[in-house]
Symmetry: C2
Subunit: 342 residues, 2 copies
C-alpha cells in the first residue's frame, strides 16, 4: 500500500491539486473555495488518510518546523532534563526537536551541525564545544538562528546565549562553605578552556581572596575530559584520600564529577560532613537519595530551556533582512540547595 499524495486526493475529489492544497492549509476561505468543495476535499482526505509529506513541504517552503538541539551527552541527567524541557516548550510553538550529542568533541559537533544543516532545520539550540564560534557564525550567515545554552563565547556577543550565572553560583557556594568555617576547600573541575568553566574557577579564587585565604597548590584538581570513567574515578579517589587532614571540604564543579566523587567517598568510607563537607554544582537524583544527602547549586533547568526556546522563536519569527541586535548572554540565577553534606 503506497502513501497517498495530494494528487491522489485531487483526482478522487475531482478538483485540482492547488485546491486541495488550499483546503489542507486553511487557505480555502481566502482563496474563495466554495463550501461544498471544501467539504468534499476534507472528506476525501480523511477517508484516504492523507498526511502531507513534510519533505516536499519543507523543500518548497524552506521551513521544516524543526529545530536542532545539540548537547554534550543526552544520557547525562542534566542534559536529558534540559532536552525534555526544550522539547516540551517547542511543542507549544509547534516545532519538533531533533537532538544529538557531541560527547564534547569539536569535530563531532561540526559534523552534527552539518548533518542538521543538510536536513534543513530552521534553527539551533547548541551547547557549544571549544572553537565552534566560526561554525556558528556560518549558520547565522545563512540566516539560521542559533541560541547557545549552558556555555557561551564571551568575545562573540552576536551569538545569543542563555545560561546560569556560573560566577555567582560558585561564589555563593564558596561563601556558604567558608561561612560554615571550611577554609581548606578542594575544587574538582573538568578540563576546559571554555568561558563558563573559567567563570566558575575565577569565582573560587575571588572568594578565597576576599576572605584572605591563600589558594593552595594542588587544591584545584582538573580531571581531563577524555579520561574514561575508571581513570577519572581513580584520580578522584587519590585526591580524596587526603580528606579530613589536608582539606576539609570539596566542591565538585559538575554533576558528573559529583557522582564520581560520591562513588569515591563511598569506597573510601569518608565521613560526610564530619571529615569532609561536600558541595556540587548541578543537582542529580543521587544527591537527594545518598546518605548523607548532598547539598548542591541547582541550575534552573526549565527556565534555561524556556528562555532559550523563546529567544530562538523570536529570531525565527524575525524574518527581516537586517541582522538581529547583539545582546549580552542572558544569565539566570542558580540557587543553593542546602542538604546534609554541608
Amino acid at each position: 500500500m503506497k502513501k497517498v499524495s495530494i494528487s491522489d486526493i485531487a483526482r478522487k475529489a475531482g478538483v485540482s491539486v492547488s485546491t486541495v492544497s488550499f483546503v489542507m492549509n486553511d487557505k480555502a476561505v481566502k482563496m474563495r473555495i466554495s463550501r461544498e468543495v471544501i467539504e468534499k476535499v476534507e472528506n476525501v482526505a480523511r477517508e484516504m488518510g492523507y498526511r502531507p509529506n513534510q519533505l516536499a513541504r519543507g523543500l518548497r517552503t524552506g521551513k521544516t518546523k524543526t529545530i536542532g538541539l545539540i548537547v554534550e551527552n543526552i544520557s547525562n541527567a542534566f542534559f536529558a532534563k534540559l532536552a525534555k524541557s526544550i522539547e516540551d516548550e517547542a511543542k507549544k510553538y509547534d516545532y519538533k526537536v531533533v537532538y544529538c550529542s557531541t560527547d564534547n568533541d569539536e569535530d563531532k559537533a561540526r559534523d552534527l551541525i552539518n548533518m542538521l544543516s543538510q536536513r534543513q532545520v530552521d534553527g539551533y539550540i547548541i551547547v557549544p564545544t571549544l572553537n565552534l564560534a566560526e561554525d556558528i557564525r556560518k549558520l547565522q550567515a545563512e540566516n539560521k538562528p542559533v541560541v547557545l545554552i549552558d556555555r557561551y563565547f564571551p568575545q562573540h556577543d552576536e551569538i545569543p546565549a542563555v545560561l546560569v550565572d556560573n560566577y555567582e553560583g560558585v561564589s555563593g557556594g564558596m561563601e556558604y562553605l567558608i561561612g560554615k568555617g571550611y577554609r581548606k576547600v578542594v575544587l574538582v573541575t573538568i578540563e576546559t578552556e571554555m568561558a563558563h568553566m573559567k567563570d566558575r574557577l575565577r569565582a573560587y579564587y575571588d572568594v578565597l581572596n576576599r576572605h584572605g585565604i591563600a589558594p593552595v597548590d594542588g587544591f584545584v584538581k582538573v580531571v581531563p575530559y577524555e579520561s574514561d570513567r575508571e581513570t577519572a574515578l581513580k584520580e578522584v579517589e587519590d585526591l580524596l584520600a587526603g580528606a579530613g587532614t589536608a582539606f576539609d571540604a570539596v566542591f565538585f564543579l559538575t554533576n558528573y564529577l559529583g557522582v564520581l566523587g560520591i562513588e569515591a567517598i563511598k569506597k573510601l568510607q569518608i565521613k560526610v560532613p564530619g571529615q569532609l563537607a561536600v558541595l556540587c554544582f548541578d543537582d542529580n537524583d543521587i544527591f537527594r537519595l545518598y546518605t548523607p544527602t548532598i547539598s548542591v547549586i541547582r541550575q534552573p533547568i526549565e527556565a534555561i530551556g524556556q528562555k532559550a526556546m523563546s529567544t530562538l522563536i523570536e529570531r525565527l519569527r524575525h524574518t527581516g533582512e537586517e541582522a538581529f541586535p547583539e545582546n549580552a548572554p542572558l544569565m539566570l540565577i542558580a540557587d543553593l540547595v542546602k542538604r546534609e553534606s554541608i
Copy 2:
C-alpha cells in the same frame, strides 16, 4: 548568504547538474565522467561548501536514511541508555536517529508515529504502548519496517520484537530471594495490561507456587502509571510501612519504581537487608551508590539496542515485495547482579 545548491556548482564548474550529481554520489566512474571533470567538480563543490539538501534527496529517492525511535520517556535512565546504544549502532550503518517520548500515552504514541511518518523516516524502533498494534500494522503495510523493543504483542508475531526474557528474569530474582530464605515477598509493579509486565507478574506467581508459597492478598502493589511522583511515593511509603513484620522482601518491577522505593525506604529508615531485602528489575546508577547497594536484575541494554538495530537494518535492506517471514520475539537473558540489599 544563501545555501549553495547543486545547480550553483554546475554553473560555476561549467557542467550539467547531472554531472555534478554523479560526481557527488560516486557514480562518476560508472557514468564515465573524465578525470578532469571529476576533479573540477569536486574542487568547486569544496570551495563553495556544498552540502546536499537532504529534503530534496529524500523526496526524490524516497529514502531519508533516518530511523524513528519512540520510547516511553527519554529522560528515564533505562531508555536514555537504550537510545544512546541504538544511536551509536545506527551510525555504523550510516543512519540518523530521531527520538521522542510517548509518556506511555497511546494517543501521543499515535501522534508521534504520524509525525515521523510525515517526515518519511525509513523505519521505526518502537517501545509500544497498549493498543498500538493496528497502527504498527499500517506502517508495515506501507512497507516501513518496524522493530519493537522492551515490549511486544504476543498475538502479533508478524511484528518483530527484541526484548529481555521477562519471565526468566523475574523467575531468577524470585528464586534468589526464596533461596535466601525470604518467603514473604511483596511485588511493586506498574499498572499495565501489556504482555511484558504480565510475564513478569506470572513469573512471580509461578515461582511462589513452585515453592508451595500461597500468594498473599495485598502483596502485589500496583502503582497506577498516571499518578504523579508525589502520589506514587506516598503509596509506596504506605506499603513499605509494614516492612519487617508483614513481609520481609520487596521486588520492584521497574527502575522508576525502585528509585521511588529507595526514597521511601530512606524516609522510613528501614534497615536493608535486615528488616527488608530489596531487589529491582533494571539497574540504575543510584542502586550502585546507595547504602546499602541494591541488587538488580540487569537487562542487556546494549545487546537489545544492537539486536533491534540489526533486525531493522536487515528489513530495510530487504527490498523484495514479498512480506518478511514472521518470527517469534527475540528474548535476551537478563542477569542477576548481587549487591548488598539481598
